[in-house]
Symmetry: C2
Subunit: 232 residues, 2 copies
C-alpha cells in the first residue's frame, strides 16, 4: 500500500525552538548566578521542570513558572521580586520570537502538497503552537494541524486513522526520537528522524537502528527522495 | 432541517470553574494585602490579565503568572519571594481541584446520546481542559472534544461543518454570552444560554433577546424538553 499521509512535528523540525529555550535559560542563569552558590543551575531547573510536568505540561508558560520556582529555591528565597519580574519578561519575549521556517522546509512542503495529505502533529501549549503556525505562514500547506498534550502510539494511531488511511500508509517526520519516532513506529507508521543540534534532555532516546521502518536524514531537503524510494 | 448536533461549553456549563479562580483570587488578595495600600487588588489583577491575554491566552498557568506580576507591581517590588512561591502553590492547587459535573449533567447527556451527535467546544489551556474532561468521566458521551484558543463565529462554523451537518442543524449550550452564544448565533446555530452565578468580567455581554435562535434556561435539566420543542 503506497504512502498517502506525511505528518510533521513542528518545533525543531519545521522551525527553531529549543534554541530559544536555551538562550532564555542562559539569561536566567546569569540573572540568578549572583544570588546563589549552586553551580549547576541548569540541572536544578531541569529537575523542577520534570517535577512540574504533571502540573504544567509543555510550553513557555510552564517553563517560566519553573524558572521562577527554581530561582526562589536555589536562592533560599532571597531573590528580589524585581529579578522575578525579569524572568517573567524573559518568558514573554520567547513568545515574541518569530517562528521562521528552516531552510528547504517550504520548498519540500510545496513539492509534496497535492500528492500527499500533509499534517502537523505537535505537542505543547495550544496557544503557543497556534501562534507559531500562523507566524510561520506554512499553515496553508497542511490538511490538518493536531496539537496534542502527549505523543504516544495511541495518539498516532488515532490521528492517522482519522485524517489519513491508517498508520501503515503514513509517515512521521521529526527531530525527537522519543516523541516523534518511537511511538509512530510502534503505531505501525514510518518514522523519519531529522536530528537537530539541540535536543531537550527530556526528549532523548536510543535510535531504533534495526527497525525496518526507521530512517534518518541529515536534512529535510532529502525527504522527497526518500518518499519516492519508499513508494516505489 | 431537524437538529443533529448538540455542542456544550465545558467550564461553568458542565462543571464548576470560575469559583475556583475566585477562591484562588481571594487567597491571593489576603496574601498581598499586608504588603500594599492598594485596595482594589481584584481590579489590578484583572488589568494585568487583560494585558497578558495576548501572551498567555486562557487558563491556570497564565492566571498564575498574572497573579505574580500583579503582586510585584502593587507592592513596588517589595513582596518576598516566599509569598511568590505561595502564589505558585495556589496555582498548582487549582489544578488538583476535581472537575465534578453539575447536577443533572450526566443524566441529560445520557438522554441525548444516540439521538444526537454530542460535542464539547471549550476554550483554554489544552493541558487543563484534557485533565478536566478525564476527571469528569463524561468524555465517553462525546463524539468529539474541540479545545480551541478563541471562540469566534468562524470557529463554530468550522466545527459544525466538520463534525456535524453545518451550523443550521446545530445547537450550542453555554454559560458565556460572549464566547458561547453570540458567535454561535452569528454562525447560524441555535444558542442556549444557561447563566452561571459567577461570570468572569471578560466574558460578559448583552443578551441577544430578540434573536429567534436564542434561548435561555435556568438549568441544564430543561435542555432535553427544549430540544424536543425545537425539533418538532
Amino acid at each position: 500500500m503506497p504512502l498517502s499521509t506525511i505528518a510533521f512535528d513542528a518545533d525543531d523540525t519545521l522551525w527553531e525552538n529549543e534554541q530559544i529555550f536555551h538562550l532564555t535559560e542562559q539569561r536566567f542563569r546569569e540573572l540568578i548566578a549572583s544570588h546563589t552558590k549552586i553551580e549547576d543551575l541548569g540541572q536544578s531547573l531541569l529537575e523542577t521542570e520534570r517535577k512540574n510536568l504533571r502540573y504544567y505540561g509543555y510550553g513557555i508558560k510552564g517553563f517560566t513558572l519553573s524558572m521562577i520556582e527554581t530561582a526562589i529555591e536555589v536562592t533560599g528565597g532571597t531573590i528580589p521580586a524585581r529579578d522575578i519580574q525579569e524572568i517573567i519578561q524573559a518568558g514573554r519575549e520567547m513568545r515574541d520570537h518569530p517562528a521562521s521556517p528552516f531552510p528547504h522546509v517550504e520548498r519540500v512542503l510545496k513539492s509534496l502538497t497535492g500528492d500527499y495529505r500533509l499534517l502537523v502533529i505537535t505537542k505543547g501549549d495550544l496557544f503557543d503552537q497556534e501562534r507559531k503556525i500562523a507566524q510561520s505562514r506554512l499553515g496553508g500547506y497542511f490538511d490538518d494541524v493536531e496539537i496534542v498534550s502527549e505523543k504516544t502510539a495511541a495518539t498516532y494511531r488515532r490521528i492517522f486513522d482519522q485524517y489519513g488511511d491508517g498508520p501503515g500508509r503514513s509517515l512521521m517526520v521529526g527531530n525527537s526520537l522519543k516523541s516523534d519516532i518511537l511511538p509512530a513506529l510502534e503505531a505501525g507508521a514510518y518514522g523519519v528522524h531529522i536530528p537537530h543540534a539541540l535536543t531537550w534532555a527530556m526528549e532523548q532516546a536510543e535510535e531504533p537502528l534495526d527497525h525496518e521502518k526507521f530512517h534518518q536524514l541529515q536534512s529535510i531537503q532529502d525527504l522527497p527522495d526518500l518518499i519516492v524510494a519508499l513508494s516505489s
